[in-house]
Amino acid sequence: MRTNNMTPEWMDSEVSTGTSIMAVEFDGGVVVGADSRTTTGSYIANRVTDKLTKVADYIYCCRSGSAADTQAVSDIVSYHLDFLQSETQEPPLVRTAAHLFKGMCYQYRDQLSAGIICAGWDKKDGGQVYSIPIGGMCVQQPFAIGGSGSTYIYGYVDSVFKTGMTQEECMKFVTNSLALAMMRDGSSGGVIRLAIITQKGVERKVIVGSDIPRFYEG
């Protein structure tokens, strides 16, 4: 939908988090990770985006798809969880957050463009990862990948993943996978943001520049 041929195409393009996102569960918590590129067409609107959004003290979501849609949905879920916490006087379950995401993404599936990974820690079931892709299905998985960049790393993650990894192994797994995705996907790039969620709380990390692992570059 162009105004005229004089304006660049990014003036009229929707803002998207064409993305690489990932979350992995380990005994005691989860590691979530994302790239940091937000594009309007081919213009990088934000090269240091934070796509890891807090919805509750111990529950984060990774957002991919339309930036506006995912921000709106996670704001609403965050509100619901806060209200529930007020009423029950207990931190919400990850499963509850995922269910709320699913409810919204499914009900408004025709209007939304949102792919979400909801992950966190709760007292009842420990670390959990839930994948809520476009369309609004919800499935729990030991690890999940999402966003446009994820298509390039399906083979990699399937070959490297094993159950019973430690926190450090999970962090390495996420970092390497996202680095590979960011290298191949034009809509992914920037820095790697990580969040490690355990009973102790949330630890945030950023991996920048030369610290990002490098593989075959041609």
Binding site: E87, T88, L93, R95, A98, H99, L100, K102, G103
Partner: protein
Amino acid sequence: MSSIGTGYDLSASQFSPDGRVFQVEYAIKAVDNSSTAIGIRGKNGVVFAVENLVTSKLYEKGANKRIFSLDTHVGMAMGGLLSDARCLVDIARTEAANYRSQYGSPIPIKYLTDRVSMYMHGYTLYSAIRPFGCSIILGSYEDGQPSMYMLDPSGVPWGYYGIAIGKARQAAKTEIEKLNMQEMTCEELVKEAAKIIHIVHDEVKDKTFELELSWVGDMTKGRHQLVPDDIKAEAEKYAKESLAESDESEDEDMA
């Protein structure tokens, strides 16, 4: 403390000069006139026992039960007006089902109790409607923890380890207090509950009754169920034998 509230008791929207809402108090009297129901919270679950009076031999057996399931994991016993309680059961079931649908988890009993009590309280505010004439006892077993709450017509919920409502509640309460319920399992408490109902039942005034027994806990894997027939039969046998024993010992004393 009973007194008549002439002039201030015509609707729930009126306070009396000494700060009472008589309609709510009258509703509580409706509960006090019904037959007895008890709930006991043990170490590994909750047991309900209800004295269901049979006023005619022509009635179908097992009709008009006073114990309900509100969700797979929450049970309810009632005293007072049965049709009022049935209305609340519907509300509570809807609340529980909606919670499950919205949040993907079974409703915590504390939350359900809150919602039902808010609903009951709503009926104590207006002149156009009357308060619910029933008290309800909710019980559940969640994450290894038993919980039991009683809501009276005012809508106020209280958490209990042991509770009795209905005409013989004082006598039943005395019996319940004798038990060290927090250390007893449901398997033991089921027998004690049956015994208590048999003890407090008034043979002279009320003739026959059907005993309703239900439980929820470890032994039912968290599901609220009517106590299985064989265990119920054993509990009733224990109850009748204990009664017979105490009758005998009374006779001995008299001699």
